[in-house]
Amino acid sequence: MKKYDAIVIGAGHNGLCNAAYLAKAGLDVLVLERNPYIGGATVSRELHPGWKYSNCSYVCSLLRPEITRDLELPRHGLQVIPYEGGVTFTRDGDYFGNYGDHERQYREMARHSVRDANAYDRFSANVMRQTRLIRKYLMTTPPDPTSFKPRDIKGLLELAESFTDMGDEGLLDTLRFWTMSIGDYLDEYFETDLIKAHMAGSGIIGTALGVYSPGTAYVLLHHYMGDVDGSVGAWGFARGGMGAVADALASSLKSFGGEIVCDADVHRVIVRGGRAVGVALADGTEYHAGTVVSNLDPKRTFLECFDASDLPAEVVHRAKNFKIRGSSGKLNIALDGLPTFPAMPKSSTLMVSDMHASESLFELERAYDDWKAGTWSEDPYFDMLIPTQVDPTMAAPGKHMMTVFVQYCPPTLADGPWTPEKCDAFGKTVLDKISRYSPDFKDLVLDVEVRTPHEIDNEVGLTEGNIFQGELTFDQLLFNRPFPGYAQYRGPVQGMYMCGSGTHPGGGVMAAPGANAAREILMDLKKPNVVPEGYLDD
C-alpha cells in the first residue's frame, strides 16, 4: 500500500488548509473525509432542488487574508462580498437599525439615546484596541509560558510588549475584557437595552453561556477580529455559500498534488512504538503516513480515534473535560420570494444585513435559562440573513435562501434524546418567531433544513454540535487551547498533530489553526516554512 508523507483526518476548512500547505511544501498528502462531500462545517449543499444552502457556517470574516492570498483562493474560485449592518426587530412593530454608515447609525441610535449614539465611538475604539492585540496572534503559534525555549521566551516577550503598546491601562483593560461578560461590558457603554441586546449577539453566538456569563465579552471580540478587504470587523458572503471556501481550499490543495478521499470514516489512528504511523478506516482500510493530522475536535480525536492506552492518561482526562457544549441550531430555508418585514421598507439596506428579534439582555439571559433546563429557547435569539439578495448563484432569480442561526438549543434534551418530532418542534418555534415579524414569510417557505446540535454532531462531526470545536473561554484559549501543554499543535503521540478549531486561535472559518499547524509540522520535518506568519496590519 502506498505510504503518504501526511494524512489529514477531516476535510473541514482547517484540514484542507493544513493539507494545502503541507502539499505546497512538497509533501505527499492525503485528506480523508467521512462524509461524501468535503467542507465540514464550511459547506454548501443543494438539499432542495435549485437552492444552495450554507448549511453550517454562513458568513465570512475571520478567514485569514494571508491564507486567501497565499493559497490563491480567489484564483481557485473564492469571492467574498462584504455586507454591512444589522437590525433588531421589536414587538411593537419598530426596529433598531445598526447601519454600516457611521452617521446613519448615529442618527438611529440617537432615536433611543443621544448618549448611546455617542458612546458607540468609545465602544468601538476600545473593541478595536482589543482586536489589534489579538489579531497579531492569529497566524502565530501561541508561546508556551512554561517553556524556556528561545522561541517561547521571544513570543512571551512580544506578548508583554503588545500590552505595553496599549498604554498603562492596556493590561488591566485586556484582563477585564477577556474575563468579563458581554452584558457587563455593554453596560459600561450603553443605557438602552435594545441597543445592548443588538450588540450582545456577537458575545453569545456559538457559546453555551448567557449574556451575563463571564467570558462572553471575548466571544464578541472573536466576531470582530476578522476583516474583509482590510475593513476590520466586517463580514461578507462567500459567493456560492460557505462551501466556496472549502472548494477553493480543496482546489488549491489539488493544485499542489494533494489528494482527497471522501466516504472515508477514520476509525483509529494507528500507533506503533509511541508513533502515529497511519489510520484505519471503519471498513478496515488502512492508510500509512509518517505524519497524522487531526482536523477533528479534541474529544473526537482523542476519545474516539485513539485507543486510550496509546495516550497519556492526562490527555484522555483533558479531552473528557474539554468544554465543547452545543448551544445553537440552524434553519436553512428555501423561499419562493423575498419576505416582507412590515417594520421597514423592502428597499432598506438592512434587508441585506443580519436580522434579529431579541430586545433585551434579560430576554437573552432567559433564552439561556431554557438551555440550562435542557430545552431549546422558547423565545430564541436568531441571526438571520438572506444572502441571495447579494449572491445570484444560490437560488434562481427572484427566489431566496435564508440562513437562520438559532440560539439556544441544547445537545441533549431534559426529556430524552432528540427525535425527528422534537427537531420539527424546534424548527416550528423558530419559524413562528420569524413570522411574527414577517407575516408573509411562512407562505414563501418551500423547504426547511432544521439542524439541532444533534444533527451538527452526527452529520458534521462537531461534538455536541459546538460550532467552535470547543468553547472560546479564557481557560481554553491561547496556550491553553485545547489543553495546557498541547497548544502548539503537536499531539501526545509522536508524528500526530491537531489542526482544527479546537486549537489556537479557535473557531470560525479562519483557517489559521490549519496553517499554524502546518508550520509546526514542517518545522518538525525540517522542511522550509511555506506558511505565512505574523501580522501585516499597522
Binding site: D94, Y95, G97, D101, E103, R104, Y106, R107, E108, A110, R111, H112, V114, R115, D116, A117, N118, A119, D121, R122, A125, M128, R129, R132, D165, M166, G167, G170, Y189, M344, P345, S348, T349
Partner: protein
C-alpha cells in the same frame, strides 16, 4: 417611550438645504456629520475671496450644539474645561478645549454663556456621552440642540455692514467673542462675533424653522455687499491661513484613538494659553501638570514653506533627511501669499531657528517631482488683520 419615526434618508438635509442646493452649481457634495454639505458652490477661489474681500456665508448647522443649563452649569463646565469658564461672562463666548483624565484633547469648541446658568457648547465632534459621564454630582441638564438650531457663519470685511443692513442695529458695537440677540421674523436671532476665518465675522444661530427666512433676509441685505455662499473647501483654506486647528485633521479626538499615544494634549496643539492651573480641579489637570513639568512629546507649529506647492501630508525632515515631524494641514494662502502648513513636530523640533524641510511630492503631466522645501516657524498666524478685532467694526 415613543420614539421619533424612522427617516429612511441616508444623509440628512440641513435647514438651509433648499437654498444651498439651488446655489450649489458645482453639485459637489460631501457628508458632514450626517448632513449633505457642499464642498464648493461655484469656484473655490471666488468663495475664499468672498470671505476675505466681501462676505462669505457658510452653513454650519451640522456643528454639534449642546445646551447646558442648571444651577451647577458653570461649576460643571469649569470642572471639565481646561480654561476658567467663570471668566466667560454672560453675553460672551469662550474658545476652549476639553481633555481626558490623561490630559489628551477630546475636542475644541466654543462655550456660549447665554444667561445665568445657561450655556451652549458648540463643537465639531460629539461629546454627549462624556459630558454625561462627567456630570455626576452636578445639577445640570444637557440637551442636544444640533438638529433644532440652524447656524450660518457670515464672514468677511463687509459682514458687519450686511448684518446692519439686515436690521441688526448696533451690531457694529458687538465685540469679538460677544453675543447679542435680535428679534427676527417673530423669533430670536442670536449673533456671536465668532468665526473660523480669522477675520471680521459673525455666526448666526436661530431656530431651524426660521432658517429659510434668515437666509433670504441675509442674502437680500448682502447683495450689494457682494455676499456669496462658501463651501467647506474655501473655509478650509481660510482656517489654515488663520492658524486654526481642526478635529480629525490636526488631532484625533482622544476618545476615537485606537493606537496608544496618537492623541495630543493642549500643549502639543499650541493651546497652552488656554490651560488654567490656578482655577482649581478640572479633568486632565494632574496629567497636564505632569506634562508641563516633564515636557511634551510634540510641538504644534505653523510653518511658512518655501515655494508654492502645498505641503499636504508631508514629512518634515531635518538637514540630514531624518523625519522630525509631519504636516497635519496645509494650503497655499491666497491673501497672505504664503505657503502655510500646520505641523506636529517631534520634540524638541520646531524651534524658531531649526533647519527643517518639507518633503513635497507633486505631479505635472505624469512627471513627479520631489521637493525639499525649507520651512520657517511662524510665531503668529499669517493672516491676522486689525479689522478682526476693531470695535466698532468697520465697514471695509
Amino acid at each position: 417611550m415613543s420614539l421619533r419615526p424612522h427617516d429612511e434618508r441616508m444623509v440628512m438635509p440641513t435647514p438651509f438645504a433648499p437654498r444651498v442646493a439651488a446655489l450649489c452649481q458645482t453639485n459637489d457634495w460631501y457628508t458632514w456629520a450626517g448632513y449633505t454639505t457642499p464642498n464648493t458652490f461655484e469656484e473655490v477661489g471666488l468663495e475664499y475671496f468672498a470671505m476675505r474681500n466681501s462676505t462669505g456665508v457658510f452653513d454650519l448647522s451640522p456643528m454639534t450644539k449642546y445646551r447646558i443649563t442648571g444651577p451647577d452649569a458653570e461649576a460643571f463646565l469649569n470642572r471639565v474645561m481646561v480654561r476658567d469658564v467663570r471668566k466667560i461672562k454672560p453675553g460672551r463666548v469662550g474658545y476652549t478645549v476639553w481633555c481626558t483624565d490623561e490630559g489628551m484633547v477630546h475636542d475644541d469648541g466654543t462655550i456660549f454663556h447665554l444667561a445665568q446658568d445657561d450655556y451652549r457648547l458648540c463643537a465639531q465632534e460629539r461629546c454627549m456621552d462624556w459630558l454625561h459621564w462627567s456630570a455626576l454630582g452636578f445639577d445640570v441638564e444637557i440637551v442636544d440642540e444640533t438638529a433644532g438650531i440652524a447656524a450660518l457663519a457670515v464672514q468677511g470685511p463687509t459682514s458687519c455692514a450686511t448684518l446692519r443692513n439686515m436690521g441688526l442695529s448696533g451690531i457694529e458695537n458687538l465685540k469679538p467673542f460677544g453675543v447679542a440677540t435680535f428679534p427676527f421674523n417673530g423669533a430670536e436671532l442670536l449673533v456671536s462675533r465668532t468665526g473660523y476665518t480669522g477675520d471680521l465675522g459673525y455666526e448666526l444661530w436661530i431656530d431651524a424653522q426660521q432658517a429659510l427666512p434668515l437666509w433670504d433676509a441675509l442674502f437680500a441685505a448682502g447683495r450689494e455687499r457682494l455676499i456669496r455662499p462658501v463651501g467647506s473647501e474655501a473655509l478650509g483654506i481660510a482656517r489654515i491661513e488663520a492658524g486654526f486647528i481642526m478635529a480629525g485633521e490636526d488631532f484625533v479626538p482622544a476618545e476615537q484613538v485606537v493606537r496608544h499615544g496618537r492623541a495630543r494634549s493642549p500643549f502639543e496643539l499650541g493651546l497652552e494659553w488656554l490651560v488654567d492651573f490656578d482655577k482649581g480641579p478640572f479633568t486632565g489637570r494632574n496629567a497636564l501638570l505632569k506634562e508641563k513639568r516633564e515636557g511634551s512629546r510634540y510641538r504644534f507649529v505653523i510653518l511658512d514653506i518655501e515655494g508654492n506647492k502645498p505641503a499636504n501630508h508631508s514629512f518634515i525632515l531635518d538637514k540630514h533627511g531624518r523625519t522630525i515631524g509631519h504636516v497635519t494641514s496645509a494650503a497655499w494662502c491666497p491673501t497672505a501669499k504664503s505657503n502655510i502648513a500646520l505641523a506636529s513636530m517631534n520634540m524638541p523640533w520646531g524651534r524658531d531657528d531649526d533647519e527643517m524641510y518639507a518633503e513635497i511630492y507633486y505631479n505635472r503631466e505624469l512627471h513627479w517631482t520631489r521637493l525639499l522645501s525649507r520651512c520657517r516657524v511662524r510665531r503668529d498666524p499669517v493672516f491676522n488683520p486689525p479689522r478682526r478685532r476693531a470695535t466698532p467694526a468697520q465697514d471695509l
